[in-house]
Symmetry: C2
Subunit: 112 residues, 2 copies
C-alpha cells in the first residue's frame, strides 16, 4: 500500500508552504479512503512518496486517471493567505491504495 | 484552530523527504485528536503551519510541553529506507487545537 502526493513545480512554493500543502492533500485523500485500506496502509507504516508535476493541467489529468482507477484522491487549492493567489491548485494526493494501482496513475513521475 | 508541524533543520532532508515526514506527523497527530476538535479544525480549512527546530532535543522538549498542555501530538521517526539512519527523529506535529494553546508550545519558533 502507498500514497502518492504530486506537487506542482511551477509555482515556486517555499519548502514550508509546499510541505503544508502536501500534508493537506495527504489527509484529505486519507479521509476519502475506506476503513480497510486505511488500516492496511497504516499497518505497513503509511508509505508516502512525493512526486513532481509540471503544472495544473497535469494535476487534473492525474486526478481523472485516479478517478477511473477507483482510487481515493484529493486536489488541493490554496486558500491564498500567503505566496499564492486564492484558489491556486497546488497538490494532488492519490491513495492510499495498492502500489500497483497507484503506479498506474503516478508511476511515470519523478521523485521530488 | 490550527496544527503546528515542527521540522528538524539539522538533518539536511531534501524537500520531498521533508514534505513526506510533515504529512506523516500531521496525520498521526490528527488520528490522536478527539472528534469535536477534528471537525472544528476541518471546518475552518485545516490550518497548518510548518516550523523549524534546531535538533532532536528541542523536538522532545516541545513534545513534553504539548503533553502538559493536553494537546494531541506525534513524534515521527524515519524508517530509514533513504537519506537517514533508521529511527532518526524528523518531525513533531502539535494539534489540531486552539491557536492560543498551540502557540504556548510552538509560538516562539520560526516559520519554515
Amino acid at each position: 500500500m502507498k500514497q502518492a502526493i504530486v506537487v506542482r513545480t511551477d509555482l515556486g512554493m517555499g519548502t514550508g508552504k509546499l510541505a503544508a500543502q502536501v500534508a493537506h492533500a495527504s489527509l484529505s485523500a486519507y479521509e476519502d479512503t475506506g476503513r480497510k485500506a486505511r488500516k492496511a496502509w497504516k499497518g505497513e507504516g503509511q508509505k508516502k512518496v512525493v512526486l513532481k508535476a509540471a503544472g495544473e493541467s497535469q494535476i487534473f489529468e492525474l486526478a481523472d486517471r485516479a478517478e477511473r482507477e477507483g482510487l481515493p484522491h484529493a486536489v488541493i487549492r490554496d486558500a491564498g493567505h500567503t505566496q499564492l493567489d486564492p484558489g491556486t491548485v497546488t497538490t494532488l494526493a492519490v491513495g492510499p491504495g495498492e502500489e500497483s494501482i497507484v503506479d498506474k496513475v503516478t508511476g511515470d513521475l519523478s521523485l521530488y
